[in-house]
Structure formats: structure tokens, C-alpha cells
Symmetry: C2
Subunit: 206 residues, 2 copies
Amino acid sequence: MKKKDTTQRILDAAEALFAEKGVSNTSLREITSRAGVNLASVNYHFGSKLGLVEAVLKRRLDPLNKERLKRLQAIKREADSTGKAPSVRAIMQAIFEPILIMVDTQAFIRIIARSMTDPDETVKNVFLREIGPVFRLMFSLLMRALPHVPKDVLFWRVQFALGAMGHSLWAIGRVKMVPEGVDASISRDRLLELWLDFCTEGLENP
Amino acid sequence: MKKKDTTQRILDAAEALFAEKGVSNTSLREITSRAGVNLASVNYHFGSKLGLVEAVLKRRLDPLNKERLKRLQAIKREADSTGKAPSVRAIMQAIFEPILIMVDTQAFIRIIARSMTDPDETVKNVFLREIGPVFRLMFSLLMRALPHVPKDVLFWRVQFALGAMGHSLWAIGRVKMVPEGVDASISRDRLLELWLDFCTEGLENP
DNA sequence: GTCTATAGATTGATAGAC
DNA sequence: GTCTATCAATCTATAGAC
């Protein structure tokens, strides 16, 4: 079995550590020692720590948001051709489900969740840039699906739905506060289902 | 006008900076220079940076969660004495409204929101310790309000609601991505109302 | 491409005068 | 309690041998 590419090893190690402790609580030394590579190789391959942060996020966010966009565009085409309003549930599913489908590691989910909340400037910028087109298309479809909901109200409901998604993705597998008698373990598919129920209800509320 | 206490000045400056950039992106030098006090005074008054972090969070979370607990206990007493199930909306209101009522600065809201997501270990620990009793009482009341919802499902719905709250509190006043024609500015009371509508609907879903 | 060695900056913390 | 001065550790980044 061939040893993995240095670039990949660094990305994997950085992803795990960024997801776990946040970008600025992770040093390049931790990353390279976990990856089993030399400290200087980070700067050789990525130019700087910022370059590495960008690369780590883009590796996941890029295909994720491409897949989301593809699904949303399919929903739009369907709505355009039939003249019927798109389904709220289908729209939201197009946002969440690609995360579960494209998973290959536990760290993947966490880096997505982390990218929504990490205080680091670079993280915020990359996240917003990457999700921009997805967000705009999602919002315009939701407006068509829910013409009776005022735009400004819809905007905040979408924020609620995204906040719920991010928080639950973050909590999955690492819930700290579980009431007695509750089984907090959950499959990803089940989480998707519960989230869709929850936020479809909240979005459609008249 | 008397100059404020050094301790207070440090707490205020630290709160603003922690809320803005996160704990580990903020140095003691930034804090003391913003507060107009000497660098060494942080260690004199708080022992260490960790001590300061704890103090900053506790100053807000302590009275906040006391107020929440008071309200939840009142709801419990009412339910106990009348034998009627408590109202989901009232329970959720007891969680969110105290944040708005106890506000004295913009930074206050952000430090609450930040405390839910900052990757720093100390932040997470203080937040969980402080909210523990509130969470348990809230959950037991929700179980009484929604006896037909399985515990495990309810648990995740509560996570959704809290995630929605945290994210929207964070977004308020600093929304980065606003679709054309949408007015994302919103009063705190209005946000509370929208959030209650959203998550009451989602929690009660059969 | 990979390594050692180190520069250069910044950090949290503290000793000691006032 | 407040200040200056500084230590010791840690960080990112880079120069240069291999």
C-alpha cells in the first residue's frame, strides 16, 4: 500500500485538528507531527497557514456546494417547466443531504459545522464566498415555494433552519448534556429526517 | 463622573473582543490597551487569561441562567398546581427572552452567542456548567408539554431550537449575505417572536 | 521535495520598584 | 493597586544543505 501524498496527509491532519479545536488553537507543529511530515512542508505546499486553512475548507466546501447547486438547479428546472411551486422539503433536503452523502470521515462533518462558526477571519470569508450562490438560489426557490411569507420573515426563518443544521451537525457524536433516559445517539439519515420535519414545519408556518 | 473600576474596564474590553474575534484570537495586550489599563493588571485581578475568560462569561451567564431558571420554575409550579401541561411557547420564551431583557450592550448578545460556539475549551466548559440545570428543567417541562413526542426525538428538536437561537443571535446586526430586496435588520422583540413561531411549530410537530 | 536550524514576532506571565 | 521591564515559551515563516 502506497504511502499517502504529503499534501493529503497534511490536509487530513489539519482538517481533524481544525474541526476539533478550531483554527487558531491549532499550530502548524501539531499538524505536521500528526501528519508525520516535516514542519517546513506546510509552507512548501500551501505557502502559509492561511493557505492551508483555505485549502482544507475548499476541499470539502467546493464539491459540497457544487452538489447542492446541482440539486437546487434541478428543482428550479422542474418548477420552471411545470409551473408548479417547488417543495420546501425538497429545497431543504438539497442543502443538508449532500453533507451526509459526501462523507468520508467523521472530521468531514465537523469541519463543515465548524466552518459556520469558527471565529477565524479566513474561515468566515471562505465559507461565505463558497456558499453565496447556493444561498441565493435556495432563497429564491423558497420565495416561490412560500409566496405568502414576507421576504424579511422568510430570511430569518432560513437563518433559523441553517443555525439548527449547523448546531446539530456539530453536536452529533459529541453531545455533552444528555437528560436521563434519552438516547442521544442518532444515525445521519435519521438526523436529516428530523431536521427536515422540524424546519419544513417552521418555514411553512403561515 | 467617576472613572470605572479597573476590573470592570477589563471585563468590558475583554467581552467586546472575545465576542468579536473569539477568545484565542484576542491577546491580553489588546484587551488592556482597549481598556486603558496596564498589562499586568489582568494577572493581578484575574490570575491568568483563563481566569479572565471565566469571569467574562460568568458575569453574563450567571444572572441570565438564574433568570431562566426562575421562569421555568414558575412554569413548573403552575403546571404542578393546575395539573395542566405547560405551554411549549412559554417554556421556549423563558429560555430566549431573558437574553433580550438583560441586555445592556450589543456585546452582551454576542458573548452569549459566542459562548455556544467558541472552540476554546474553557468557554465550552463554563457554558455547559452554567446552563446545565436550565437545560434539564427545560427538557423535563417539554416532556410534559409534549408527551406524544418520543424523548429521543424531542432531544434533537431541542438541539435544533437552540442552534437556531444561537445562530440568529450571532447573525443579528451583522448579517453578511442578504438577498436583494430583503431587509435583514430586525428588532430583538421581533426576532424573539419569529423564533418562537418557528420552533414552537417544529417542536409540537406530531 | 524534504530536512535542520533559526530568524523574527508575539504571547502569557512575573519580578520588583513605586 | 499600578507601573516598567523582561523572561521564557510558542508561534509562523524562511534560508540553505541535501
